[in-house]
Structure formats: C-alpha cells, structure tokens
C-alpha cells in the first residue's frame, strides 16, 4: 500500500530531534501498551506482517499525530474490535465511567505452535541471484502489504548479501500463506535513488524478497 508509513526520501519533517537521557518509556501508558501488544494478539492479525499492515491501515493524519505507541494502542484497539473481542465504543464508555454492559468473559484462540524459526524457512530451490549480480526492482505497488519501499521501486542495484528464504510479508500479512522467498541485501547507489539530489559517496542497502527483483545491470 502506498501509505504514509513509507517515509524514505520524503521532505518536510525537519531536523532529527535527539532527547538527552531519554527514558525507555516516556509515560506509564506507553509501557502498558507495549506489554499489552506483546501479550494480546487479536485473531485478525496473527502475524508480525499482519500487525505491521494494521499500522499502515491507520488514517494517515492519525499515523503522524499518534506517535509510536499511540499507533500501537490504536492498532490493538481496532484489532480487538474487528475480531469481536471488544465492542464498538466500549473503550469510550469505560473512560466515561459508564461501562456498556456486564463484561462478558472472552477468550483468545490458542496460539499455534511456534515453528522452528520465526521467519526463516527451508525451500528446495536455489537462490535466483548471487552476490555481485545486478538486479532491477519491479515497479511493485500492491494494494496490500509489501516491504519494497517506494523509493527503491524500479531502480537498479547490486546484490551484496544473500539471506535464507523467509516468510513473504506480501502474502502472509493477508493470510495468503507464507510463500517463503530468498531475501537479498541490495545496494543502490545514492544517485540511482535520488538523482541530482544525491550526496556523493552514499548508498542505501535494502533487504528485498526475490519476487521484488528481476535480473538487470547494476547502476
């Protein structure tokens, strides 16, 4: 999805503001939301890919104003409502001191047994590319989740590292299977990505799934 989350190369966000002596959490609610999010996994988003996509589906203006843990809170609340574990308006009613109804117990479905590795998968085929190969990224703009950043679409680069086959976020986020693919660290020269605006002597490495790539000549 071409969303607000895909920020690489955007202008207008100003300077990087560094806070000295920053605490791990800035407020108690942030810590509670972090812990709750690790423990309560709404059934409609059973994977990390689906949970990332849930953040990407937030209203773009809210994405920018909620802050990091605010986004996590909204994702958790929405996931619980969409999964039927929380009623629409139930949080507001609780805040107002007028709980909607006698709280009914609910249950999360049992978590499936963990695979031997959270995302690396064994596949029969060999990687399509080797370190040193030139590649070109596809102009891949799916309506759903993807991990090909917008700034790296339809660009020429060179494979520098070949990683094991991993669960494909594009399908797994939508419950369409793990469809594991090899992942490659692909080096893009600054000029290929940013044209005249590129700083000299800079490059960006992006980790890309095999189906994002086609053979090409490195820039």
């Amino acid at each position: 999805v071409n969303g607000i989350h895909d920020m690489g190369g955007m202008d207008g966000f100003g300077r990087v503001v560094v806070e000295r002596g920053e605490p791990v959490f800035h407020a108690r609610w942030e810590a509670r939301v972090f812990g709750m999010s690790l423990l309560v996994r709404p059934p409609n988003a059973p994977s990390i890919d689906a949970r990332r996509h849930a953040i990407e589906r937030l209203d773009p203006a809210r994405y920018l104003t909620l802050g990091y843990y605010g986004r996590w809170l909204e994702r958790l609340e929405r996931g619980l409502v969409e999964s039927g574990l929380l009623g629409e308006g139930e949080v507001e009613a609780q805040i107002a001191g007028r709980p909607l109804a006698a709280t009914r117990p609910a249950a999360l479905p049992p978590r499936p047994p963990a695979p031997p590795h959270p995302f690396v998968r064994a596949v029969e085929r060999a990687p399509a590319f080797r370190a040193g190969d030139g590649v070109r990224t596809r102009n891949h703009q799916p309506p759903g989740h993807t991990r090909l950043p917008g700034y790296a679409r339809a660009r020429r680069g060179a494979v520098v590292r070949v990683y094991p086959a991993c669960v494909l976020p594009d399908t797994n986020a939508h419950g369409r299977g793990e469809c594991p693919e090899y992942v490659y660290a692909v080096r893009f020269e600054g000029r290929e990505l940013w044209g005249d605006a590129a700083e000299p002597g800079t490059c960006v490495h992006v980790d890309l799934f095999e189906s994002y790539l086609e053979p090409g000549r490195a820039a």
């Binding site: 690489g8 509670r32 990332r52 949080v91 980790d207 799934f209």
Partner: protein, 199 residues
C-alpha cells in the same frame, strides 16, 4: 475527545483498554509488568557494548561476529524477539555504516533495547536514506567526504548492528573499560566511539 491533548487521551484509552482486557480474562496485568521490567531493566545498549568490546579484543570472535552475527551474539547470551537474524556491519577508515527502518521502526532489541524516539520519528526515517551526510552532521558526526556512507534500511526481518571502529588511544584498556566507551548511537551508526578521555 480532544485532539489538542492527544497524549492525555491516549493515557486514558490505554488505562481503559487494560481494565477491559483484564475484566474479560484476556490479560494478566502481572505479565505486562514483567515485560515492562525486562525492557526497562534487563535489555539495553550495554548488551551490544559487550559484543563490540569482545570483537575489539578478540580477533577470532570478531571474525565469527561478522560471519554469523546471530550465533556470535548468542555466545554472549543475547537473542530473542527482533534479534533472530542478526547481521553485523563493520566500520573502517573508509566506510561508515548507519541503520534505519524507513517503513516502520525495526531495531535489534536484544542488543540495543527499545529504540529511542528519534529513530522512530519521521525526520530520521525520511531523511537518513536521502541525505545521510547532512543528517549525521546535524547529529554531531561530520564525516570526511572520502568516507563512503552505507545506509542499511531494515526492510526484512534481518536486524543490523554496526561494529564501530575501536578508538585511538584505547590499546591499553581492558575489555570491561572498552565496553564503557561504546554508545548506543555508535552501534546504530549515528556516532563514532570517541577516544578515552585522558587520565
């Protein structure tokens, strides 16, 4: 709901949500306490500093770390969520590495803890890929133009850790003293490790 006080609103919402989840039997608040305690007290950049200092004093460990980051980091007892496939990239006099996640805020929790706010903010995520030298200079790291800057965008589940250069005048320091020099920012790649202060 006032948009002008979003943080206060979020605190109320989080509190109400936790109460509802506990009442529904979906959440044990003590389990939240344990997770918060773990990330506030047990995990942080000191873990990464141990890895870096070991690599500086032990060439054989450094070789293993660069060849298989996950396994070498596990030798020191670190691993788990957001550190399941670790890759360590090495700074040299000619190459400077810096890590970002432009799409969300992926970060190697087992070795660095949870990310600082600036790492998650739009300014860093949008700019470091396009103008890394300018951003690093703003953050206090002016690199020689001859040094190549390599940005690593964490777009898969691979998590990156920068192995900073061992600073000058640190030859006589013990591994323990070296650890104390290593900063979180140097392991993200927005700083270098400064030489030890005299004395």
């Amino acid at each position: 709901v006032s948009e002008s006080h979003p943080r206060a609103d979020l605190a109320l919402r989080a509190e109400a949500l936790e109460k509802l989840l506990v009442d529904k039997g979906l959440l044990d608040p003590a389990a939240v306490d344990a997770i918060v305690r773990h990330y506030e007290q047990d995990v942080g950049p000191l873990n990464g500093a141990k890895v870096v200092a070991r690599a500086w004093v032990d060439p054989e460990y450094r070789r293993r770390l660069l060849a298989d980051g996950t396994a070498a980091i596990a030798e020191l007892g670190f691993g788990g969520p957001q550190g399941e496939y670790m890759v360590v990239v090495e700074n040299t006099p000619r190459v400077h590495n810096v890590v970002v996640c432009t799409l969300c805020s992926c970060y190697p929790w087992p070795v660095l803890g949870l990310p600082p706010a600036w790492y998650k903010d739009p300014a860093y995520r949008s700019r470091i890929v396009r103008e890394p030298r300018a951003v690093l200079a703003e953050m206090g790291l002016a690199l020689d133009p001859q040094v190549e800057v390599r940005v690593w965008d964490s777009s898969s589940e691979v998590r990156y850790l920068v192995l900073p250069e061992r600073p000058a005048r640190s030859e006589a320091l013990s591994e323990e003293h070296l650890r104390a020099l290593v900063t979180r920012d140097a392991m993200i790649g927005v700083a270098v490790v400064p030489p030890p202060r005299d004395g």
